[in-house]
Symmetry: C2
Subunit: 266 residues, 2 copies
Protein backbone atom coordinates (compact mmCIF):
# COMPACT_ATOMS: atom_id res chain seq x y z
CA UNK A 1 0.00 0.00 0.00
CA UNK A 2 0.98 3.61 -0.22
CA UNK A 3 0.33 6.89 1.52
CA UNK A 4 -1.31 9.99 0.17
CA UNK A 5 -0.93 13.63 1.13
CA UNK A 6 -2.90 16.54 -0.29
CA UNK A 7 -3.39 20.22 0.44
CA UNK A 8 -5.91 22.86 -0.60
CA UNK A 9 -5.38 26.47 0.53
CA UNK A 10 -6.77 29.93 -0.16
CA UNK A 11 -3.28 31.48 -0.19
CA UNK A 12 -0.04 30.07 -1.59
CA UNK A 13 1.18 27.86 1.24
CA UNK A 14 4.18 25.61 1.57
CA UNK A 15 3.81 22.01 2.63
CA UNK A 16 7.26 21.61 4.22
CA UNK A 17 5.82 20.72 7.64
CA UNK A 18 3.45 17.98 6.45
CA UNK A 19 5.94 16.68 3.90
CA UNK A 20 8.56 16.36 6.64
CA UNK A 21 6.25 13.94 8.38
CA UNK A 22 5.25 12.04 5.25
CA UNK A 23 8.80 11.49 3.98
CA UNK A 24 9.70 9.71 7.23
CA UNK A 25 7.17 7.05 6.30
CA UNK A 26 9.16 6.43 3.11
CA UNK A 27 11.72 4.20 4.76
CA UNK A 28 12.03 5.39 8.38
CA UNK A 29 8.75 5.28 10.36
CA UNK A 30 6.91 3.56 7.49
CA UNK A 31 7.71 0.93 4.84
CA UNK A 32 6.93 3.00 1.74
CA UNK A 33 10.39 2.84 0.19
CA UNK A 34 9.44 2.39 -3.44
CA UNK A 35 9.50 5.96 -4.62
CA UNK A 36 7.61 9.15 -4.03
CA UNK A 37 6.29 12.09 -5.97
CA UNK A 38 4.65 15.46 -5.49
CA UNK A 39 2.76 17.97 -7.63
CA UNK A 40 2.65 21.68 -6.69
CA UNK A 41 0.11 23.87 -8.49
CA UNK A 42 0.68 27.56 -9.06
CA UNK A 43 -2.32 28.88 -10.97
CA UNK A 44 -2.77 26.64 -14.01
CA UNK A 45 0.86 25.57 -13.86
CA UNK A 46 2.27 22.63 -11.97
CA UNK A 47 5.71 21.48 -10.85
CA UNK A 48 6.35 17.82 -10.39
CA UNK A 49 9.06 16.04 -8.48
CA UNK A 50 9.25 12.28 -9.00
CA UNK A 51 11.82 9.92 -7.59
CA UNK A 52 11.83 6.12 -7.52
CA UNK A 53 14.29 6.25 -4.56
CA UNK A 54 13.02 6.12 -0.94
CA UNK A 55 11.94 9.59 0.19
CA UNK A 56 13.88 9.34 3.44
CA UNK A 57 17.14 9.02 1.43
CA UNK A 58 16.30 11.29 -1.50
CA UNK A 59 18.27 14.49 -2.19
CA UNK A 60 15.28 15.79 -4.11
CA UNK A 61 12.96 15.11 -1.16
CA UNK A 62 15.36 17.03 1.10
CA UNK A 63 15.13 19.97 -1.31
CA UNK A 64 11.32 19.83 -1.29
CA UNK A 65 11.33 19.74 2.50
CA UNK A 66 13.80 22.57 2.97
CA UNK A 67 12.94 24.86 0.04
CA UNK A 68 9.44 26.29 0.62
CA UNK A 69 7.44 26.03 -2.60
CA UNK A 70 4.19 27.90 -2.14
CA UNK A 71 1.11 26.46 -3.77
CA UNK A 72 -2.71 26.44 -3.64
CA UNK A 73 -2.98 22.73 -4.29
CA UNK A 74 -0.56 19.90 -3.61
CA UNK A 75 -0.80 16.16 -4.21
CA UNK A 76 1.88 13.82 -2.91
CA UNK A 77 2.34 10.07 -2.72
CA UNK A 78 4.86 7.67 -1.23
CA UNK A 79 4.84 4.21 -2.67
CA UNK A 80 5.04 0.69 -1.41
CA UNK A 81 4.82 -1.22 -4.67
CA UNK A 82 2.33 -3.97 -5.28
CA UNK A 83 1.45 -3.90 -9.01
CA UNK A 84 4.20 -2.66 -11.36
CA UNK A 85 7.93 -2.61 -10.78
CA UNK A 86 9.80 0.21 -9.05
CA UNK A 87 10.68 2.71 -11.75
CA UNK A 88 10.09 6.31 -12.68
CA UNK A 89 7.07 5.74 -14.92
CA UNK A 90 5.28 3.89 -12.11
CA UNK A 91 5.80 6.73 -9.63
CA UNK A 92 2.73 8.80 -8.70
CA UNK A 93 1.32 11.42 -9.15
CA UNK A 94 0.30 10.72 -12.74
CA UNK A 95 -0.82 13.56 -14.97
CA UNK A 96 -2.68 14.24 -18.20
CA UNK A 97 -4.17 17.32 -19.87
CA UNK A 98 -7.93 17.83 -20.25
CA UNK A 99 -9.74 21.11 -21.12
CA UNK A 100 -6.39 22.91 -21.22
CA UNK A 101 -5.84 21.99 -17.57
CA UNK A 102 -3.17 19.82 -16.09
CA UNK A 103 -4.84 17.02 -14.09
CA UNK A 104 -2.87 15.12 -11.45
CA UNK A 105 -3.82 12.01 -9.58
CA UNK A 106 -2.46 9.70 -6.93
CA UNK A 107 -3.95 6.43 -5.71
CA UNK A 108 -3.61 4.30 -2.62
CA UNK A 109 -4.91 0.73 -2.76
CA UNK A 110 -5.03 -2.19 -5.14
CA UNK A 111 -7.52 -3.07 -7.85
CA UNK A 112 -8.20 -6.55 -9.21
CA UNK A 113 -7.77 -7.75 -12.79
CA UNK A 114 -11.35 -6.85 -13.79
CA UNK A 115 -10.09 -3.27 -13.92
CA UNK A 116 -8.42 -4.04 -17.23
CA UNK A 117 -11.77 -4.83 -18.82
CA UNK A 118 -12.63 -1.13 -18.65
CA UNK A 119 -11.96 0.25 -22.13
CA UNK A 120 -9.43 3.06 -22.64
CA UNK A 121 -10.10 5.52 -25.43
CA UNK A 122 -8.22 8.78 -25.07
CA UNK A 123 -5.50 8.24 -22.52
CA UNK A 124 -3.11 5.31 -22.32
CA UNK A 125 -0.86 4.28 -19.43
CA UNK A 126 2.87 4.97 -19.73
CA UNK A 127 3.78 2.63 -16.88
CA UNK A 128 2.36 -0.68 -15.67
CA UNK A 129 0.45 0.13 -12.48
CA UNK A 130 -3.22 -0.56 -11.89
CA UNK A 131 -3.33 3.00 -10.52
CA UNK A 132 -2.38 4.68 -13.78
CA UNK A 133 -4.73 2.45 -15.77
CA UNK A 134 -7.59 3.52 -13.49
CA UNK A 135 -6.60 7.18 -13.95
CA UNK A 136 -6.56 6.87 -17.76
CA UNK A 137 -10.03 5.30 -17.69
CA UNK A 138 -11.40 7.84 -15.21
CA UNK A 139 -10.12 10.88 -17.09
CA UNK A 140 -11.25 9.42 -20.42
CA UNK A 141 -14.76 9.02 -18.98
CA UNK A 142 -14.78 12.64 -17.79
CA UNK A 143 -13.63 13.77 -21.24
CA UNK A 144 -16.34 11.78 -22.96
CA UNK A 145 -19.10 13.00 -20.64
CA UNK A 146 -17.89 16.63 -20.59
CA UNK A 147 -16.15 17.55 -23.85
CA UNK A 148 -16.18 21.10 -22.48
CA UNK A 149 -15.48 22.07 -18.90
CA UNK A 150 -18.81 22.12 -17.00
CA UNK A 151 -19.76 25.17 -14.92
CA UNK A 152 -21.37 23.18 -12.16
CA UNK A 153 -18.88 21.66 -9.76
CA UNK A 154 -21.69 19.65 -8.18
CA UNK A 155 -22.46 17.92 -11.46
CA UNK A 156 -18.79 17.19 -12.11
CA UNK A 157 -18.26 15.93 -8.56
CA UNK A 158 -21.25 13.60 -8.77
CA UNK A 159 -19.95 12.17 -12.01
CA UNK A 160 -16.44 11.67 -10.60
CA UNK A 161 -17.91 10.11 -7.47
CA UNK A 162 -19.80 7.61 -9.61
CA UNK A 163 -16.61 6.66 -11.47
CA UNK A 164 -14.78 6.20 -8.18
CA UNK A 165 -17.59 3.96 -6.94
CA UNK A 166 -17.07 1.74 -9.98
CA UNK A 167 -13.34 1.54 -9.29
CA UNK A 168 -14.05 0.73 -5.65
CA UNK A 169 -15.95 -2.28 -6.97
CA UNK A 170 -12.54 -3.68 -7.99
CA UNK A 171 -10.76 -3.28 -4.66
CA UNK A 172 -9.35 -0.50 -2.52
CA UNK A 173 -9.51 2.92 -4.13
CA UNK A 174 -8.38 5.91 -2.08
CA UNK A 175 -7.67 8.81 -4.42
CA UNK A 176 -6.53 12.41 -4.68
CA UNK A 177 -7.31 14.14 -7.99
CA UNK A 178 -7.06 17.76 -9.10
CA UNK A 179 -7.39 19.90 -12.20
CA UNK A 180 -5.63 22.91 -10.57
CA UNK A 181 -8.49 24.48 -8.56
CA UNK A 182 -10.54 21.64 -7.13
CA UNK A 183 -9.11 18.82 -5.06
CA UNK A 184 -11.25 15.65 -5.30
CA UNK A 185 -10.68 13.19 -2.43
CA UNK A 186 -12.28 9.76 -2.50
CA UNK A 187 -12.08 7.19 0.27
CA UNK A 188 -12.43 3.44 0.40
CA UNK A 189 -10.50 2.60 3.55
CA UNK A 190 -8.36 5.46 4.85
CA UNK A 191 -8.30 9.19 4.23
CA UNK A 192 -8.44 11.92 6.90
CA UNK A 193 -8.43 15.68 6.72
CA UNK A 194 -8.30 18.78 8.85
CA UNK A 195 -8.66 22.48 8.17
CA UNK A 196 -6.34 24.97 9.84
CA UNK A 197 -7.69 28.52 10.17
CA UNK A 198 -7.69 31.33 12.74
CA UNK A 199 -7.18 31.05 15.62
CA UNK A 200 -4.12 29.03 14.60
CA UNK A 201 -2.30 26.90 17.13
CA UNK A 202 0.59 24.55 17.47
CA UNK A 203 0.85 21.33 15.49
CA UNK A 204 3.16 18.43 16.36
CA UNK A 205 4.18 15.76 13.86
CA UNK A 206 3.73 12.10 14.78
CA UNK A 207 6.61 10.79 12.64
CA UNK A 208 9.34 13.32 13.24
CA UNK A 209 10.33 15.57 16.08
CA UNK A 210 8.91 18.80 14.75
CA UNK A 211 6.38 21.28 16.08
CA UNK A 212 5.16 24.36 14.28
CA UNK A 213 3.15 27.22 15.69
CA UNK A 214 1.04 28.23 12.71
CA UNK A 215 0.31 31.59 14.41
CA UNK A 216 3.79 32.63 13.34
CA UNK A 217 3.37 31.44 9.77
CA UNK A 218 -0.07 32.66 8.76
CA UNK A 219 -2.45 35.59 8.49
CA UNK A 220 -5.92 35.53 10.10
CA UNK A 221 -7.59 34.98 6.71
CA UNK A 222 -5.63 31.87 5.73
CA UNK A 223 -7.54 28.64 5.29
CA UNK A 224 -5.44 25.53 4.74
CA UNK A 225 -6.78 22.00 4.50
CA UNK A 226 -4.51 18.98 4.67
CA UNK A 227 -5.61 15.47 3.62
CA UNK A 228 -3.62 12.34 4.43
CA UNK A 229 -3.95 8.57 4.53
CA UNK A 230 -3.17 8.67 8.23
CA UNK A 231 -3.23 11.81 10.39
CA UNK A 232 0.20 13.44 10.36
CA UNK A 233 -0.11 15.23 13.70
CA UNK A 234 -1.11 13.88 17.10
CA UNK A 235 -2.51 17.01 18.72
CA UNK A 236 -5.14 18.09 16.18
CA UNK A 237 -8.62 16.78 15.36
CA UNK A 238 -8.55 15.01 12.01
CA UNK A 239 -11.80 13.90 10.38
CA UNK A 240 -11.95 10.54 8.64
CA UNK A 241 -13.77 10.26 5.33
CA UNK A 242 -16.27 7.41 5.16
CA UNK A 243 -16.04 4.49 2.77
CA UNK A 244 -17.44 5.63 -0.57
CA UNK A 245 -17.37 9.31 0.33
CA UNK A 246 -16.09 11.99 -2.05
CA UNK A 247 -15.10 15.36 -0.64
CA UNK A 248 -14.13 18.26 -2.90
CA UNK A 249 -12.07 21.23 -1.68
CA UNK A 250 -11.36 24.59 -3.21
CA UNK A 251 -9.30 27.29 -1.49
CA UNK A 252 -9.21 25.14 1.63
CA UNK A 253 -12.99 24.77 1.96
CA UNK A 254 -15.39 21.94 1.20
CA UNK A 255 -17.33 22.92 -1.93
CA UNK A 256 -18.96 19.60 -2.75
CA UNK A 257 -19.55 16.41 -0.88
CA UNK A 258 -21.05 13.15 -2.00
CA UNK A 259 -22.09 10.64 0.60
CA UNK A 260 -21.35 6.97 0.13
CA UNK A 261 -23.71 5.04 -2.12
CA UNK A 262 -23.80 1.25 -2.23
CA UNK A 263 -21.33 -0.17 -4.77
CA UNK A 264 -23.07 -1.94 -7.63
CA UNK A 265 -21.83 -5.49 -7.90
CA UNK A 266 -19.29 -5.64 -10.71
Amino acid sequence: MCELLGMSANVPTDICFSFSGLMQRGGATGPHRDGWGIAFYEGRGVRFFHDPAPSVESAIARLVRSHPIKSHIVISHIRQANVGQICLENTHPFSRELWGRSWSYAHNGQLDAQLYELPLEFYRPIGTTDSEYAFCWLLGQIRQRFPQEPDDIGELSDFIGGLCDRLRGFGVFNMLLTESRYLFCYCTTKLSWLTRRAPFGEARLKDYELTVDFCDETTPLDVVTVIATDPLTDNEAWQALQTGELCVFRDGLVVARREAVPVASA
Copy 2:
Protein backbone atom coordinates in the same frame (compact mmCIF):
# COMPACT_ATOMS: atom_id res chain seq x y z
CA MET B 1 14.36 34.34 -27.61
CA CYS B 2 15.40 31.33 -25.62
CA GLU B 3 18.05 28.66 -25.54
CA LEU B 4 17.69 24.94 -25.99
CA LEU B 5 19.78 22.06 -24.72
CA GLY B 6 19.28 18.40 -25.54
CA MET B 7 21.11 15.13 -25.03
CA SER B 8 20.86 11.65 -26.51
CA ALA B 9 23.10 8.89 -25.14
CA ASN B 10 23.49 5.13 -25.36
CA VAL B 11 24.15 4.84 -21.61
CA PRO B 12 22.53 6.73 -18.73
CA THR B 13 24.55 9.93 -18.63
CA ASP B 14 24.30 13.02 -16.49
CA ILE B 15 24.11 16.46 -18.03
CA CYS B 16 25.67 18.37 -15.12
CA PHE B 17 28.53 19.72 -17.25
CA SER B 18 26.42 21.09 -20.11
CA PHE B 19 23.71 22.31 -17.75
CA SER B 20 26.33 24.23 -15.75
CA GLY B 21 27.08 26.18 -18.91
CA LEU B 22 23.47 26.67 -19.93
CA MET B 23 22.26 27.93 -16.56
CA GLN B 24 24.81 30.76 -16.69
CA ARG B 25 22.95 32.07 -19.70
CA GLY B 26 19.84 32.34 -17.52
CA GLY B 27 20.81 35.65 -15.97
CA ALA B 28 24.64 35.75 -15.88
CA THR B 29 26.30 35.39 -19.31
CA GLY B 30 22.94 35.48 -21.12
CA PRO B 31 19.64 37.36 -20.73
CA HIS B 32 17.33 34.34 -20.43
CA ARG B 33 15.98 35.16 -16.97
CA ASP B 34 12.35 34.20 -17.46
CA GLY B 35 12.39 30.66 -16.21
CA TRP B 36 13.87 27.35 -17.16
CA GLY B 37 12.92 23.69 -17.27
CA ILE B 38 14.38 20.28 -17.93
CA ALA B 39 13.08 16.78 -18.68
CA PHE B 40 15.15 13.69 -17.86
CA TYR B 41 14.04 10.39 -19.37
CA GLU B 42 14.70 7.07 -17.67
CA GLY B 43 13.17 4.35 -19.85
CA ARG B 44 9.56 5.36 -20.46
CA GLY B 45 9.52 7.52 -17.36
CA VAL B 46 10.44 11.18 -17.15
CA ARG B 47 11.31 13.63 -14.41
CA PHE B 48 10.60 17.28 -14.92
CA PHE B 49 11.96 20.31 -13.14
CA HIS B 50 10.26 23.60 -13.97
CA ASP B 51 10.98 26.97 -12.44
CA PRO B 52 9.81 30.43 -13.54
CA ALA B 53 12.78 31.95 -11.62
CA PRO B 54 16.09 32.69 -13.37
CA SER B 55 18.22 29.54 -13.57
CA VAL B 56 21.30 31.33 -12.28
CA GLU B 57 19.45 32.08 -9.00
CA SER B 58 17.38 28.92 -8.71
CA ALA B 59 17.86 26.48 -5.80
CA ILE B 60 16.31 23.78 -7.97
CA ALA B 61 18.77 24.50 -10.80
CA ARG B 62 21.62 24.19 -8.31
CA LEU B 63 20.30 20.77 -7.33
CA VAL B 64 20.08 19.68 -10.98
CA ARG B 65 23.63 20.87 -11.55
CA SER B 66 25.11 19.25 -8.47
CA HIS B 67 23.04 16.06 -8.20
CA PRO B 68 23.87 13.82 -11.17
CA ILE B 69 20.65 12.49 -12.68
CA LYS B 70 21.52 9.89 -15.28
CA SER B 71 19.37 9.73 -18.36
CA HIS B 72 19.27 8.56 -22.01
CA ILE B 73 17.47 11.64 -23.24
CA VAL B 74 17.33 15.16 -21.86
CA ILE B 75 15.56 18.28 -23.08
CA SER B 76 16.16 21.63 -21.41
CA HIS B 77 15.15 25.21 -22.09
CA ILE B 78 15.93 28.61 -20.61
CA ARG B 79 13.44 31.31 -21.42
CA GLN B 80 13.52 34.92 -22.43
CA ALA B 81 9.81 35.62 -22.72
CA ASN B 82 8.23 37.14 -25.79
CA VAL B 83 4.68 35.70 -26.04
CA GLY B 84 3.00 34.79 -22.73
CA GLN B 85 3.74 36.11 -19.26
CA ILE B 86 6.38 34.66 -16.94
CA CYS B 87 4.67 31.91 -15.00
CA LEU B 88 4.93 28.21 -14.37
CA GLU B 89 2.47 27.10 -17.05
CA ASN B 90 4.45 29.01 -19.70
CA THR B 91 7.72 27.32 -18.75
CA HIS B 92 9.14 24.75 -21.21
CA PRO B 93 9.47 21.80 -21.72
CA PHE B 94 5.80 21.07 -22.35
CA SER B 95 4.56 17.51 -22.24
CA ARG B 96 1.63 15.35 -23.34
CA GLU B 97 0.96 11.63 -23.61
CA LEU B 98 0.58 9.85 -26.97
CA TRP B 99 0.71 6.05 -27.62
CA GLY B 100 1.37 5.48 -23.92
CA ARG B 101 4.54 7.53 -24.20
CA SER B 102 5.38 10.78 -22.52
CA TRP B 103 6.31 13.34 -25.19
CA SER B 104 8.27 16.46 -24.27
CA TYR B 105 8.99 19.51 -26.35
CA ALA B 106 10.83 22.81 -26.11
CA HIS B 107 10.86 25.62 -28.66
CA ASN B 108 13.10 28.55 -29.41
CA GLY B 109 11.76 31.30 -31.67
CA GLN B 110 8.57 33.19 -32.26
CA LEU B 111 5.59 32.41 -34.46
CA ASP B 112 3.16 34.94 -35.90
CA ALA B 113 -0.58 35.13 -35.31
CA GLN B 114 -1.43 32.88 -38.28
CA LEU B 115 -0.33 30.01 -36.05
CA TYR B 116 -3.62 30.29 -34.19
CA GLU B 117 -5.56 29.46 -37.35
CA LEU B 118 -4.24 25.90 -37.13
CA PRO B 119 -7.05 23.87 -35.58
CA LEU B 120 -6.51 22.01 -32.30
CA GLU B 121 -8.42 18.81 -31.81
CA PHE B 122 -7.06 16.62 -29.10
CA TYR B 123 -4.53 18.61 -27.10
CA ARG B 124 -5.15 22.09 -25.72
CA PRO B 125 -2.64 24.55 -24.31
CA ILE B 126 -2.53 25.06 -20.55
CA GLY B 127 -0.54 28.30 -20.78
CA THR B 128 -0.54 31.16 -23.27
CA THR B 129 2.66 30.76 -25.31
CA ASP B 130 2.82 30.35 -29.09
CA SER B 131 5.25 27.51 -28.36
CA GLU B 132 2.76 25.37 -26.48
CA TYR B 133 0.04 26.05 -29.06
CA ALA B 134 2.38 24.82 -31.79
CA PHE B 135 3.17 21.71 -29.73
CA CYS B 136 -0.52 20.91 -29.22
CA TRP B 137 -1.13 21.22 -32.96
CA LEU B 138 1.95 19.20 -33.90
CA LEU B 139 1.22 16.33 -31.51
CA GLY B 140 -2.46 16.32 -32.51
CA GLN B 141 -1.41 15.96 -36.15
CA ILE B 142 0.87 13.05 -35.30
CA ARG B 143 -1.96 11.41 -33.37
CA GLN B 144 -4.37 11.83 -36.25
CA ARG B 145 -1.94 10.51 -38.86
CA PHE B 146 -0.64 7.65 -36.69
CA PRO B 147 -3.35 6.43 -34.29
CA GLN B 148 -0.92 3.62 -33.49
CA GLU B 149 2.82 3.99 -33.09
CA PRO B 150 4.48 3.44 -36.51
CA ASP B 151 7.35 0.97 -36.82
CA ASP B 152 9.26 3.05 -39.33
CA ILE B 153 11.19 5.93 -37.78
CA GLY B 154 11.89 7.30 -41.26
CA GLU B 155 8.17 7.65 -42.00
CA LEU B 156 7.52 9.29 -38.64
CA SER B 157 10.50 11.62 -39.03
CA ASP B 158 9.40 12.72 -42.49
CA PHE B 159 5.93 13.48 -41.21
CA ILE B 160 7.28 15.47 -38.23
CA GLY B 161 9.67 17.31 -40.56
CA GLY B 162 6.74 18.35 -42.74
CA LEU B 163 4.84 19.67 -39.72
CA CYS B 164 7.91 21.62 -38.60
CA ASP B 165 8.21 23.12 -42.09
CA ARG B 166 4.64 24.39 -41.79
CA LEU B 167 5.43 25.97 -38.43
CA ARG B 168 8.57 27.52 -39.86
CA GLY B 169 6.26 29.25 -42.33
CA PHE B 170 5.02 31.32 -39.36
CA GLY B 171 8.40 32.47 -38.08
CA VAL B 172 11.37 31.05 -36.23
CA PHE B 173 10.95 27.45 -35.15
CA ASN B 174 13.90 25.71 -33.52
CA MET B 175 12.66 22.65 -31.68
CA LEU B 176 13.62 19.70 -29.52
CA LEU B 177 11.01 16.94 -29.26
CA THR B 178 11.13 13.43 -27.82
CA GLU B 179 8.86 10.48 -27.05
CA SER B 180 11.45 8.81 -24.75
CA ARG B 181 13.74 7.06 -27.31
CA TYR B 182 14.08 9.37 -30.30
CA LEU B 183 15.19 12.98 -30.07
CA PHE B 184 13.85 15.08 -32.96
CA CYS B 185 15.80 18.31 -33.55
CA TYR B 186 14.54 20.87 -36.05
CA CYS B 187 16.34 24.05 -37.01
CA THR B 188 15.25 27.37 -38.46
CA THR B 189 18.05 29.64 -37.32
CA LYS B 190 20.31 28.13 -34.66
CA LEU B 191 20.93 24.61 -33.44
CA SER B 192 24.30 22.87 -33.17
CA TRP B 193 25.36 19.44 -32.03
CA LEU B 194 28.36 17.30 -31.33
CA THR B 195 28.90 13.66 -30.49
CA ARG B 196 31.40 12.63 -27.84
CA ARG B 197 32.79 9.10 -28.13
CA ALA B 198 36.13 7.31 -27.70
CA PRO B 199 38.80 8.56 -27.71
CA PHE B 200 37.32 11.06 -25.28
CA GLY B 201 39.10 14.30 -24.53
CA GLU B 202 38.81 17.44 -22.52
CA ALA B 203 35.92 19.86 -22.91
CA ARG B 204 35.92 23.45 -21.69
CA LEU B 205 32.75 25.47 -21.12
CA LYS B 206 32.41 28.88 -22.75
CA ASP B 207 30.11 30.37 -20.09
CA TYR B 208 31.63 29.14 -16.86
CA GLU B 209 35.07 28.25 -15.70
CA LEU B 210 34.78 24.51 -15.90
CA THR B 211 36.73 21.85 -17.77
CA VAL B 212 35.96 18.15 -17.78
CA ASP B 213 38.10 15.33 -19.05
CA PHE B 214 35.51 12.88 -20.33
CA CYS B 215 38.14 10.11 -20.30
CA ASP B 216 37.62 9.99 -16.55
CA GLU B 217 33.85 9.89 -16.79
CA THR B 218 33.12 7.40 -19.54
CA THR B 219 33.71 3.91 -20.89
CA PRO B 220 35.04 3.31 -24.43
CA LEU B 221 31.58 2.27 -25.67
CA ASP B 222 29.76 5.45 -24.59
CA VAL B 223 28.21 7.64 -27.26
CA VAL B 224 26.79 10.95 -26.08
CA THR B 225 25.37 13.63 -28.35
CA VAL B 226 24.66 17.13 -27.08
CA ILE B 227 22.50 19.63 -28.99
CA ALA B 228 22.35 23.33 -28.12
CA THR B 229 21.22 26.65 -29.55
CA ASP B 230 24.80 27.88 -29.31
CA PRO B 231 27.83 25.66 -28.78
CA LEU B 232 28.50 25.27 -25.06
CA THR B 233 32.22 24.53 -25.33
CA ASP B 234 34.95 26.42 -27.15
CA ASN B 235 37.43 23.59 -27.81
CA GLU B 236 35.24 21.06 -29.62
CA ALA B 237 33.86 20.88 -33.16
CA TRP B 238 30.13 21.56 -33.12
CA GLN B 239 28.08 21.03 -36.29
CA ALA B 240 25.34 23.49 -37.13
CA LEU B 241 22.02 22.21 -38.46
CA GLN B 242 20.84 23.93 -41.63
CA THR B 243 17.64 25.94 -41.91
CA GLY B 244 14.79 23.49 -42.43
CA GLU B 245 16.83 20.47 -41.41
CA LEU B 246 15.50 17.77 -39.08
CA CYS B 247 17.95 15.47 -37.37
CA VAL B 248 16.80 12.50 -35.28
CA PHE B 249 19.00 10.84 -32.67
CA ARG B 250 18.69 7.59 -30.81
CA ASP B 251 21.27 6.31 -28.33
CA GLY B 252 23.54 9.18 -29.32
CA LEU B 253 23.54 8.41 -33.05
CA VAL B 254 21.79 9.98 -36.02
CA VAL B 255 19.05 7.56 -37.10
CA ALA B 256 17.13 9.80 -39.49
CA ARG B 257 17.84 13.02 -41.24
CA ARG B 258 15.64 15.15 -43.44
CA GLU B 259 17.28 17.85 -45.54
CA ALA B 260 15.68 21.24 -45.84
CA VAL B 261 12.80 21.58 -48.26
CA PRO B 262 11.47 24.93 -49.43
CA VAL B 263 8.75 26.26 -47.13
CA ALA B 264 5.38 26.47 -48.86
CA SER B 265 4.06 29.98 -48.70
CA ALA B 266 1.47 30.12 -45.95
